[in-house]
Amino acid sequence: MTSQYYGHVVSYLDAEMQFMLLFSRQGKLRLQKWYIAHPDKQKKKITRELVTLVLSRKPKMCSFLEWKDLKIVYKRYASLYFCCAIEAEDNELLTLEIIHRYVELLDKYFGSVCELDIIFNFEKAYYMLDELLLGGEVQETSKKNVLKAIAAQDLLQEVSYYLHIYSSFVTIIIIVIKTTAAWAAGGLSRNISYW
C-alpha cells in the first residue's frame, strides 16, 4: 500500500545529495549509496543512464551536467568515476569537495587507494562513506574524527572475532585499551580478513 505514496514523485526532496555512484571506466558499478528511496528497478535504470552519460563525456568538459531536475557532479580519480546527484539549489563546487574528501579518506585508510581496494573491500568503502555522510548530508568535517571512528569499529570487529565475547561490557574495556594502544602504534591493522 505504501508504494502508492512513496513512489519517486515524493522522493525528490531536498537532501544535499540524492545518491552517489562509483563506477569504473568500463561502466562497472563499484558502490552505490541512495539517500532517496527508489524501487530497485528505478535505481538500475538511473544507474545505467548516468553511467552511459558520464562515460560519454569528453575530458575537456566540465564536471557538471543537468539531468532531469537534478545536477550531476562527477569526477574521475584514476580508473574510477565518483558521481553524485544533487538538487538544483545545491553547490556543485562544494560537492566536488565532498567527493574529494571521501577519496582522501579512502586513500588514508587503504594507503594510496586503487580500484581493486574498493572492489575487494567494498563494505569498508561503505563504512567510510557512512561516517562522512548521513542522509545525504556531511556529518563530520574532520578527517581525523572519521578515521578514528572507523579504526575503533574495525577494532571492535576484530575483538569480537577473536574472542567471541558476548558481553559488551568486557568488549568495551578491551576496545578502550586496544584503541589507545593502536593509535599509539600509529596505525591499525585493517587488512585482517575476518571471513
Binding site: T2, S3, Y5, Y6, L13, D14, A15, E16, L29, R30, Q32, W34, A37, H38, P39, D40, K44, K60, M61, C62, S63, F64, L65, N91, E92, L93, L94, L96, E97, I98, F120, F122, E123, Y126, Y127, L134, G135, E137, V138, Q139, E140, T141, S142, K144, N145, A149, A152, Q153, L156, Q157, V159, S160, Y161, Y166, S168, F169, T171, I172, S193, W195
Partner: protein, 823 residues
Amino acid sequence: MSTPKRLRDLIREIRSARTAADERAVVQKECASIRDSFRDEDNTYRCRNVAKLLYIHMLGYPAHFGQLECLKLIASQKFTDKRVGYLGAMLLLDERQDVHLLVTNSLKNDLNHQTQYIQSLALCTLGSICSAEMSRDLAGEIEKMIKSSNAYIKKKAILCAFCIIRKVPDLMEMFIPATRSLLNEKNHGVLLTAVCLIDEMCEKSPDTLHHFRKVVPQLVRILKNLIMAGYSPEHDVSGISDPFLQVKILRLLRVLGTNDTDASETMNDILAQVATNTDTSKNVGHAILYEIVLTIMGIKSESGLRVLAVNILGRFLLNSDKNIRYVALNTLLRVVHADYNAVQRHRTTIMDCLKDPDISIRKRAVELSFALINANNVRGMMKELLSFLENCDPEFKADCCSNIVQAAESYAPNKRWHIDTVMKVLTTAGSSVREDVVSILIQLIAETNQLHNYTVQQLFKRIEDDVSQQPLVQVASWCIGEYGEKLVSGTCEEDEPVQVSEDEVVDVLEKVLSMNYCEEVTKEYAMNALMKLSSRFRTSIGRIKAVIEKYSSSRNVEIQQRSVEFTCIFKKYDNLRSALLEQMPLIESSRSKNVLSDSLENSNSQDLLNTGQPATTENSIPSTEGQQSQSIMDLLGDVHVGAPTPMSNGDQTSTSGGTNDLLDLLGDVPSLSSPGSTNMPPPVNLMDGLGDSPPAPTMNGIGGPSSLTALNKNGLLINFECERENGQANVTIINVKAGNSTPSVMSDFVFQAAVPKSFQLQLQSPSGNSLSPLNGNNVTQIIKVNNPQKQPLRLRIRVTYTQNGNSVTETGEVNSFPNTLWQ
C-alpha cells in the same frame, strides 16, 4: 557441509569470468549455495554469505532473499554481524518493505545500546531507510539522543531528525526546543548538522523560519570566528577553515534573509568580509564565493554588494578551471534580469566563452549572450553570434537561429540590417533553421517596400550557385516570384545592381525543381514563383510555360496539381492570368500561424466539408507538409481579391468578404479536404467545375424534375426538386425550397450542404434568409452537383436558423435521390 567460499575468492572468481554467461553461471551457483546455507540456519557463516550477496547485488543480480538474513545479523550480539547486517539492510531494503516493523524494533534496541558504535550503526540505518512509520516510531528516541553529551552520537541524531522532518514534517514541533541550543556547541560536526536541521525546518514551515530569524547574529558570529580563527589543521581545506560549515551557514543565512530587510541588514557586513577575504587559489575557495554570491542575490542586500557578487562571477569567468566558468555562467544566467547592468559589464568575457572548448560552457554562454543583447550592442553582439553560428555544434543551430531572428526583430537598428541578418542566418545555418524563420523573413521583406530591389537581388545572388540551403531557396523563390521584374530591371537602391537576364532566373528555378535533394515544399515555392514570373517577364513566357507543363505528370501530387492548374490557366484563362498573379497584398504579421486557421474560419465551404466528412480536418492537421502547401495555395489564392471570377455570384463563400480562392473555384472539396492525399481523383477533373467544356450530347429526356423531402422537422419543411442540367451529363441541379409552417418567423436561415469526395458541389446564393410564419414565403436556393464518376448521389445537409431568440441547428442526410439523376 563444507565451508562456504570466502568473499575474496568469490570476487576473484567472478572477475576471472570471461563472458557474461560465465559470470552468470558463477553467480547462480554461488546464490544457490548461499540459499542452502540460509536454509540451514547457519549462524557461523551468515555474515560471510550476506557480504557475498551484497557484492552479487551490486553486480545487478537479485538478492532480496537476503533481506531476512540481514535482520538476523542485526539481532546478533557480534559487532561484525551487526555491521554487515545493517549495511545489508541499507542496501537491500528500501522504504517499501514489510520487514520494516522488524527493523524498527532492532533499531529501537540498538539506539539504546551502551556501545556508541552500535548506536551509530542504528542511526545511520535510520537515516538511510527512514520510512514514515519508522520516523514516527523512533522520533522520540532521536529527540533524546540529540540531547546527548557525546558529540559523535549527537551529530548523527541531529541528521536523523533532519531525515525524519524531511519525511514527516508534522514531527518538526518536537525537535524545535532541542535544536535551539545546538548553535552554542563548539564541535564542528554538531554545528554543521544543526545548521542543516534548522535550514530544513525553515524551508518546511514559515512559522519556524520566523522563529529562527533571531539566530542570525549567532550564525554571523560563528562565521566570523571561522574566518578569523587561525589555522586549525583539523578543519582546514587548502587554507580555508571548514568550508563545509561555511557553506552551510551561508545557505541558512540565505534562507533566513530572503524577503527580510532586518535579517539581510545584519548579515551584509559578514558577507562582504567573506567575499573579500576568501582565498581563491583552489576550487574550495570558489565553492564558498559561489555560495556567497547566491546568498547576496537571494537576500535583500545592498546594491554595492550585488555588484560585488556579479564581479565575483565575472572573475570566475576568467578562471582556468572549467567547472568554475560553468558555475559562473549558470549563475549569471539566473541573475541577469535582476542585475542587468552589472552583468552587462562582463559582456566581453561572456562572449569569449562562446569559444570555450567545453560544450556545456558554450551552451550557457550562448544563452547568456542572447539575454544581454540590447539596442546599443546589437550590431557587435550579432556579429559575434553569427560567427558562432557558423562554427557551432549542429545541436545548437536551430535554437541559435530562432534566437538570432528574435533578437534581430526586437533590436534591429534598421530594416536593411535586419534583412541582412536574417538572410545571413539562412545562408549560414542552412537546413537547421526552423520553418518559422522562412515566413518571418518573407513577412519582413514584404513589409519593406523600399528594399525590394536590393533584397531580391541579394537573394538571387545567394541561390544562383547553391540551391542546397532549403529555407533560403524557399524565401528566394518567393521573392523572385513576387519581385521578379525588379530583379531583372538592373536597378538597386543601395549596392551595385546585379545584371540578371530572365533566362538566368528561370534557369535557377528550373534547377530547384529538378534537384533531387530539394524538398517538396521548396519545389512548390519554385513552381509558384515560375507562375508568378510569367506575368512579370516578357521574353521567357514560352519557356516558363514549358517548364511548368513538364511537371504535369510529376509523381508528387502537389506539384502535379500545381502544374496542371497553372497550365490550364495558361490555356483557358490567359486573359485572367495577369490579374491572378498580381503582387501579394501585405499580410498582417504573425501570419505564419494564422493563415490556415483564418482560411478555415472564413471559408464556408470548409465548414460544409466538415459537416459532410467530420474527420477530414483532423486528418489534414497532423501533416505539416500538407498544411504548408495549403497555406501556399492560400497565399496564391489571396491574389484574386476582387478579380472577376466566373461563378462567384452563385458561390456562397462570396458572402465572407470575397475570400473565395482559386481552389474553391477549382472544385473546392477534394483538394481542401485531403491535401497531400494520394487517392484524389485525377486533377484534371477539378477543372470540370468551371463548367466551360463544350456541351456534350445528353440523354436528358428521362422524366421531368423529381421531387423529394429532405427535411421536415419542427415546422420546417425542405423540399428538393432535382433534374439533370441541360447539356451537362454529369451535373445535377437541385432546387431547394424551404418553408415554415410554424406561427413564428425563422430568421438567419442558412442552408448548407456537403457531398462525398467524388462529387463537386456548387451552392448558389439563397433567395433570402428569413422564413415568414405559416408558409408566408419560401426560400429557394440552387445546388449544382457535379458527378463525374456517376455514383449514387448522396448529400449531407445542415440548416441553422433563429426562432424566438433560440438558434436551432438541424442536420440530415439525403440519399433517396432517384437513380435517373446519375445513370
